[in-house]
């Protein structure tokens, strides 16, 4: 850059983003942290209560633990099944064909529709025998999540297409079977993409809300089986207006998501293979 243009031009371009980052992200996060140590109903000023919200949440409130349990079950069941389906279908349609583009789009379509209230209502009608039963109500929500495997699938497909074909040729020369080729070439070569999808999907699964709200009519029932953390947070904050308590829940969610992400990154060192194809 030889024009000697003032660097302030960059900040001019960035000014909307900086305002948003400060006023709508960073500032609110600190405000949230403060609120989590208060009693706040939005109509009177926040009252400082120290660690009360956290203590009550972790030791007294049974719904809190039910919410943690329901969310954990949902994440643990839906993420691996969704990723396995995504990888399976990506491998299936990864083949030279004029129909591939159409198939890829068709499998992707549920990902665009799955978060809508429309589809959640369809689920409510189709699974109406299930939503009264605690185990099967959660299963219906897991199925709704798995149904949207198209999003990680297209990322897997793009990843598969970047694996140099010579690797497969060499494996064929060595007489490696399909399973062996999958274990020795596809999985390690795809591991960065698997990791990317795993992190993204896990974070996404923690935040699912609409399906649980619509299927349980906002209650998280039957017997808290679909009381996702986000649903309980909504109930505390925006139905009961216990903003302090909800703030503490939100901070704990942030800590949990950050911890799970950090854990995934830590394990990734042993199974994600960042080789270059030289």
């Amino acid at each position: 850059m030889t024009t000697g243009e003032r660097p302030s031009v960059a900040y001019l371009f960035l000014s909307p983003w900086i305002a948003g980052a400060a006023l709508l992200t960073a500032g609110p996060m600190l405000w949230l942290l403060y609120l989590s140590f208060t009693d706040y109903d939005m109509f009177t000023a926040p009252q400082w209560v120290g660690l009360d919200n956290y203590v009550r949440m972790l030791t007294v409130d049974p719904h809190f633990w039910n919410a943690v349990l329901a969310t954990t079950k949902f994440v643990v069941f839906s993420v691996p099944v969704q990723l396995a389906a995504a990888l399976g279908v990506a491998m299936l349609i990864n083949r030279r064909s004029r129909a591939q583009g159409l198939y890829r789009s068709s499998f992707y379509a549920p990902s665009l529709l799955g978060a809508s209230v429309s589809v959640a209502l369809v689920w409510r009608v189709i699974f109406h025998d299930w939503i009264g039963d605690p185990d099967r109500a959660l299963l219906a929500l897991v199925l709704l999540a798995v149904w949207q495997f198209g999003a990680p699938m297209v990322i897997f497909l793009a990843g598969l297409q970047q694996i140099p074909p010579e690797y497969y040729d060499a494996a064929a020369v060595d007489g490696a079977g399909r399973w062996r080729t999958f274990i020795a070439i596809t999985l390690p070569m795809l591991s960065p993409v698997i990791f990317f999808n795993l992190v993204l999907d896990t974070i996404r699964a923690f935040q699912v809300f609409t399906g649980a709200y619509v299927l349980s009519n906002g209650t998280g029932g039957p017997s808290d089986s679909t009381l996702f953390y986000t649903l309980y947070l909504y109930e505390k904050g925006f139905v009961e207006f216990r903003m302090g308590y909800a703030s503490a829940m939100a901070w704990l969610l942030l800590v949990a998501v950050a911890a799970v992400t950090a854990l995934l990154f830590r394990t990734s060192r042993s199974w994600v293979f960042y080789g270059d194809d030289a």
Partner: protein, 274 residues
């Protein structure tokens, strides 16, 4: 033969996968009794009653109003995201400034930030500003480029533009603002369109934010109007419920049909270049 088997295998997976959408379409023409009784695709006797009943009022509001509201919100968010994210992306991708590294890292981190963290404090802010129960809390954050995913998407796109193009323009005496408008923006059109459509669809579907901010029925968007049906246990409401559900996904399907290649590829590559 192998090829035919492959098509058969793919279709055998696709049909059940897309069945809920097909079912919704056909079921919206069924009488209520039939909707609950069977998951068969074709109606025994097809009727238009469900759609006719949508011409009446919901909570005192005509149904077309929900479409208008959803269009304003989703369209506003799409336009706001395109404008604000492209400005920020240009600075990150092309300009040099002291805090670039720190701010870029912060931007990337916010992609992972669960929306629930900022929702509650943002609500208290908008409440103090007297903006609750208006469309502003939904659109304003997009005007301030808080959707970091799209900033990142556009940064990735802008990095693929050869720098020589900017430098040639600079030698011709263009400043950054001209270069942004005349050189960079036209070249990243696919990213702008991708951003606009994804924002539109995601906002169109978004339930939680609209549920929190909009409270009077005149301002309800489609997801909130559809929510009204959940409370009704009477099966008579199933017909109009599915009719409105079916209509609500039509814009998504149209956008997807028109731009599927761009959307799928935009989404797929966002993950890989990072």
């Amino acid at each position: 033969m192998r090829r035919a088997l492959w098509h058969l295998a793919v279709l055998a997976l696709l049909v059940p996968l897309l069945y809920p959408i097909l079912w919704l379409t056909f079921a919206s023409f069924k009488p209520a009794s039939e909707i609950v009784q069977s998951l068969a695709l074709l109606p025994r006797d097809a009727i238009l009653d469900n759609y006719q009943r949508l011409t009446g009022d919901f909570a005192g509001v005509p149904a077309w109003r929900f479409f208008v509201n959803s269009t304003i919100v989703a369209g506003g968010c799409a336009a706001a995201n395109v404008a604000s994210c492209s400005l920020a992306a240009y600075a990150f991708a092309r300009l040099r400034f002291r805090l670039r590294g720190v701010l870029f890292a912060f931007m990337l981190a916010t992609i992972m930030l669960p929306v629930h963290i900022v929702l509650l404090p943002q609500y208290t802010i908008f409440q103090r500003l007297g903006l609750v129960d208006s469309f502003w809390p939904l659109i304003l954050p997009k005007l301030l480029a808080t959707d970091a995913f799209f900033v990142f998407l556009m940064v990735q796109f802008m990095r693929t533009i050869p720098r020589e193009l900017d430098e040639a323009a600079r030698i011709d005496g263009c400043g950054s603002i001209r270069i942004f408008g005349a050189v960079v923006l036209p070249l990243v059109r696919p990213a702008l369109v991708t951003t606009a459509i994804f924002t539109f669809i995601w906002t169109w579907n978004d339930f939680l934010t609209q549920l929190i901010y909009l409270s009077t029925p005149e301002k309800y968007t489609l997801p909130l109007a559809l929510r009204l049906f959940i409370d009704q246990t009477d099966q008579n409401s199933y017909g109009p419920m599915l009719a409105l559900s079916a209509l609500a996904i039509v814009p998504i399907l149209l956008f997807f049909a028109a731009f599927q290649r761009l959307l799928v590829e935009g989404f797929a590559t966002s993950g890989l270049k990072g």
